[in-house]
């Protein structure tokens, strides 16, 4: 154990490495920024120059690097929090802070007392019963996964798990989630040099998530994949973790004199410039050293030791070392105080690391703690018992400065106020191009059975079993509603339900929670506003379908967008953010955490920029008060009534039907929040009373796909009559009724003897009996003209649904 160096050694003896920065012209500054991978904009370069001119000294190399990390898009979310001049197609107005005016505004307005910590800590925290709290965070790791998919996925998981370890005084991770957006694995078009084939990205990312999550012993039990060729240059990888922590551990504080202690992995040269590299467009010159190397067992060691130390109250605060390494972690913790760091005390992977490399390295599996000096001995004992290394690299002081030395050399001496508040705000412009109303698509000649088979076999609907089985989705003994459901454990569940008390030890407590997602970039291609509402709606409906209490749901937002410097892209972002706001306020569901990732665009083979489709992932979490009342989506028996919640309109723009039939146009599904909410309340109360046997949400592929999935998972057939579907007046085709993607609809199975009670619960909601389940394993649909328009054996439907992904991943 190295003891912290005494104060008197502070004086610098050798002249540290400095830049001739203050005399440079703007042009030279920009050249230097590009060459050094800082990703600064003009205003920022000038602000830094002005700051150091006023100080009458040149900046040290590591100081500029620290500013680059701290001010990066990745860390400061400049686009979301900066001013935007927005033209909505009619008039122009100034948005001072998009985040405050959309996401944060919604959370403020719905004002839920059970939100214990929102937006400020490493994850959002909500109350879970009286004793416990849930922390949830979803991260993206897009740029690293584009360059090195296996390592990028591994460290993505490792990073979000550390966010959960670093929330409050640390939470125990009980669930991992993963959502990917990739190009179809069979994509055979030309790719620019340095771009990996989509199949390789898919395989490697799955392997990375699998190997890290399984080794950590955290179940990966919720997620999804969306395929679109426009992700071929910029794949998206969302990784999330839910943790459980005692309510007393939600708050942290740091006192002057607390030691800065790092635990976990050692510091190496891996992962330099991660934050800045992910804040710029990706090119084939992206450095491999920007991606870190993961070591799951080191993180497991840190997890075990940390939670033990937490329960013994040995430290006062904790945060993780993510992007920017020590510079971000210590810089953030020291905000409002000050810090004195001695880098020579850090444990290293290689002895020849330069001081600035130690300071900025993003080596994995490291956490930073604030430890009262009297607890250091006990803390050391806890960590050494787990074989986990620990070093004291300095202390928090009341100086308002961040002072970092390496032996006698001053590496950084920065005013914390400048570091955290000195970022100049740059106004951006945004334009929303109002789409021209598109006429309804042409008519297809395909038969209904053929369309249904194509929908079920489509990459965005087909079975994910081949991937899900590679994840240990049951470790910790809490996965009571599994991702795969039905007689043969292979049907597509709407959400998972986790009962975390096998891990907390409160075995008599039957409360759990459900986690789900909503994502549909296809809708966003026409209207990002409606897309955002549809995503929020889908996430909520998925929770409803497993029996969660949606009145206690919380949302997380993850925006992945192309360059915000393109006003048209930024206009679409504003639309999406406004949709998210209106969904949250309308449904009364707060956002508790979020993350954005920009610059997801690259040059294709012709040198033209290929932006990703604007992508919004809405993740939702809600408590399930009694897991023994949870539901699955598989049909439970013959002779039961099938009820459909919600209205069906002809909403086929962006639908799977349009895609498999080669059609386009129509209108994008539009959520009517009020009536949707009435429906969810009604069905929620029926589920809580035990009146519903199974429930499944209608999404891509509409009624036909949802009903097929329920039937082949439960191995019972169904006979429905489309004339009984509640529909808007303008809808008159069987195709539209079967495949429209009108939101807010759920299919429900109810026992005949419970129908009266069910309908009583459902009063005020649009719920219609559309048919019943049958013993014969077929799907039988009577059309609007009274004739049977579809009669397919379940086996054929299931085969179509199961075959696609294993074949694609071969």
């Amino acid at each position: 154990m190295t003891v912290a160096a005494p104060e008197k050694e502070l004086k610098t003896v050798e002249k540290p490495k400095v830049f001739a920065f203050n005399a440079l012209s703007l042009k030279d500054l920009k050249a230097l920024s590009a060459e050094s991978l800082w990703s600064f904009n003009e205003a920022e370069l000038l602000a830094i120059q002005a700051h150091f001119k006023a100080q009458r000294r040149e900046p040290r190399a590591a100081e500029v690097e620290t500013l680059a990390q701290t001010w990066s898009e990745h860390c400061k979310h400049k686009t979301f929090t900066g001013p935007i001049r927005y033209n909505d197609g009619k008039k122009t107005r100034l948005i001072k802070n998009l985040f405050d005016e959309t996401i944060a505004k919604a959370t403020k307005q719905v004002a839920k007392p059970w939100c214990l910590s929102v937006f400020k800590d490493n994850a959002g925290v909500v109350a879970f019963g009286k004793k416990w709290a849930l922390a949830y965070k979803v991260e993206t790791h897009n740029h690293p996964c584009a360059v090195e998919p296996y390592g990028g996925a591994e460290t993505g998981v490792g990073g979000v798990v550390r966010d959960i370890l670093g929330v409050g005084l640390g939470a125990k991770p009980v669930l991992n989630t993963d959502i990917f957006c990739f190009a179809p694995p069979a994509y055979e078009g030309p790719l620019p040099e340095g771009t990996l084939a989509p199949l390789r990205t898919l395989r490697s990312v799955v392997a990375g998530v699998r190997d890290y999550g399984n080794r950590m012993g955290i179940p990966t039990a919720a997620g999804g994949i969306w395929f679109d060729a426009d992700y071929r240059l910029n794949p998206l990888v969302f990784v999330g973790t839910v943790g459980v922590l005692p309510v007393w551990a939600v708050k942290k504080e740091i006192k002057p004199g607390d030691l800065i202690v790092t635990v976990g992995g050692r510091t190496g040269r891996d992962g330099l410039h991660g934050a800045t590299f992910s804040s710029a467009n990706l090119t084939d010159e992206a450095p491999a050293s920007a991606v870190q190397i993961g070591h799951a067992i080191n993180e497991k060691r840190a997890l075990d030791a940390l939670l033990c130390a937490r329960d013994r109250k040995l430290y006062r605060a904790v945060t993780d070392c993510g992007a920017g390494g020590f510079s971000s972690a210590v810089g953030e913790m020291a905000d409002g105080l000050g810090a004195r760091v001695r880098l020579e005390n850090a444990k290293l992977k290689a002895s020849d690391l330069k001081p600035w490399e130690i300071w900025l390295s993003e080596s994995q599996e490291r956490m930073v703690l604030a430890v009262p000096p009297k607890n250091l001995k006990a803390l050391e004992a806890v960590f050494s018992a787990e074989g986990c290394e620990l070093s004291v690299i300095g202390e928090f002081v009341k100086s308002g400065r961040l002072v970092v030395t390496f032996k006698d050399e001053t590496v950084v001496d920065l005013d914390l106020k400048f570091l955290h508040k000195g970022l100049p705000r740059v106004e951006r412009t945004a334009v929303w191009d109002v789409p021209k109303p598109s006429s309804k698509g042409a008519v297809t000649k395909l038969k209904l059975a053929e369309i249904l088979q194509r929908c079920l076999a489509h990459l965005n609907v087909c079975s994910r079993e081949t991937i899900i089985r590679q994840y240990d989705h049951e470790v910790q003994g809490g996965t009571v509603i599994k991702p795969l459901q039905g007689v043969r454990h292979d049907g597509p569940g709407d959400a998972c339900v986790i009962w975390p008390h096998a891990a907390t030890g409160d075995m008599e407590d039957l409360s759990g929670f459900a986690v789900s997602h909503g994502l549909n970039p296809e809708y966003g291609k026409t209207d990002p506003y409606r897309m955002a509402l549809a995503c929020a709606d889908e996430a909520l409906r998925n929770l409803l379908c497993v029996g969660a209490d949606v009145s206690r749901a919380a949302f997380l937002d993850n925006f992945c967008w192309a360059s915000p410097e393109d006003p048209h892209q930024l206009g679409r972002l504003v639309r999406a953010a406004e949709g998210a706001r209106d969904a949250a306020i309308g449904f009364g569901v707060p956002f508790i955490s979020g993350k954005d990732s920009f610059y997801n665009q690259s040059k294709d083979v012709n040198g033209k920029d290929l932006p990703i489709p604007g992508t919004l992932l809405i993740s939702a979490v809600a408590p399930v008060p009694d897991v023994s009342k949870a539901l699955t989506m598989d049909i439970k028996g013959p002779g039961n009534a099938l009820y459909l919640l919600g209205w069906t309109s002809e909403e086929l723009c962006g639908s799977l039907y349009n895609e498999v039939c080669g059609l386009s146009g129509g209108s994008v599904p539009e959520v009517e929040v009020r009536s949707a909410l009435d429906g969810y309340r009604a069905v929620g109360s029926a589920i809580a009373k035990g009146l519903v046997l199974s429930a499944h949400d209608l999404s891509e592929g509409g009624l036909a796909a949802a009903l097929s999935e329920m039937c082949f998972s439960g191995e019972f057939g169904a006979a429905i009559d489309l004339d009984d579907v509640a529909r808007s007046g303008s809808i008159y085709s069987n195709e539209a009724l079967l495949f429209s993607e009108s939101p807010s609809r759920v299919l429900l199975e109810v026992k005949p003897e419970n129908e009266a009670a069910f309908l009583k619960c459902a009063k005020g909601a649009t719920v219609k009996r559309i048919g019943e389940t049958i013993a014969n394993p077929i799907l039988k649909v009577r059309g609007l003209d009274g004739l049977v328009v579809l009669e397919e054996p379940l086996s054929a439907l299931k085969t179509a649904w199961q075959r696609t992904l294993p074949e694609a991943m071969e």
């Binding site: 399984n214 012993g217 009571v480 009962w499």
Partner: protein, 258 residues
């Protein structure tokens, strides 16, 4: 003895210890999760416990073979394990714990220190998590199986669970010694291939016990079936009162209580 003391042995990368210990505590036993470093230092002593559980996980990342490093540590720091087994105290190794017991030479025979069986990668070439049907060897004297039906279900989750033996003769010996405690079977109880046999184990072996029946190693996870809500089809069917996993742990606890 009212509450048997249970040593739930951990190492870096053990990850099923908490739910295993909580299931045992629920049954009235006194489980202690102990890192092997405490046995090395002498702070904890194996012989002061009544039951030993080596839970599942990825000890030391399974980096040079599943359970290999942990098994070597068990050889070095649990020198009295052989005596512990000989005294008839219950020992159970689950998943990674099974791999440790085999690689430490405790299973299938604990009379020599030699490793006589091994594990390799699943035939499917990848980690897989799924529920399997298992048939318990009715001739087995294994104390963990008392009162259980012949056909049971449990989940498996592993990438390196294919049991391999030295020779066909060794298989015959295992049969003769009634060491084959459980086999993977189809839903109608027959020996069948993938996916019923999830890893390609020789003779569909899912579990081994010593001939005396107090030491059991198994790939499936009994701690993941301690509540009916763990079963993938609990929303479709009704279940016997006590789940298979809980019954297995209860048998060990009851055995110690005499």
């Amino acid at each position: 003895m009212k509450s048997p003391k249970v040593l739930v042995l951990r190492a870096a990368g053990t990850n099923c210890d908490l739910e295993t210990a909580n299931a045992l505590a629920h049954l009235g036993a006194k489980p202690e999760r102990v890192h092997i470093s405490e046995l090395r230092s002498g702070k904890a002593k194996l012989m002061s416990y009544d039951i030993l559980v080596i839970p599942g996980g990825f000890s030391y990342g399974d980096d040079i073979g599943a359970g290999r490093v942990f098994a070597n540590q068990v050889r070095l720091y649990l020198k009295d394990l052989r005596q512990f087994v000989r005294l008839g105290r219950p020992v159970i190794g689950i998943c990674n714990g099974f791999q440790v017991l085999v690689k430490a030479g405790i299973l299938p025979l604990s009379n020599t220190c030699e490793q006589t069986a091994g594990f390799t990668f699943n035939d499917s070439g990848r980690f897989e998590a799924r529920w399997v049907h298992l048939r318990i060897n009715t001739q087995s004297s294994c104390l963990f199986f008392k009162g259980l039906p012949e056909m049971i279900e449990l989940p498996v989750a592993h990438g390196e669970g294919k049991l391999v033996l030295k020779s066909p003769r060794q298989l015959e010996e295992l049969k003769k010694n009634k060491s084959i405690a459980m086999q993977y079977v189809s839903d109608d109880g027959k020996l069948a291939g993938y996916p019923y046999n999830p890893n390609g184990s020789v003779f569909n072996i899912a579990a081994l016990s010593n001939p005396e029946g107090n030491c059991l190693g198994l790939m499936p996870h009994p701690e993941r079936f301690t509540s009916i809500h763990h079963h993938p089809n609990w929303t479709r069917q009704t279940f016997r009162k006590e789940t298979v996993g809980l019954a297995m742990f209860r048998n060990a606890v009851d055995y110690c209580r005499g």
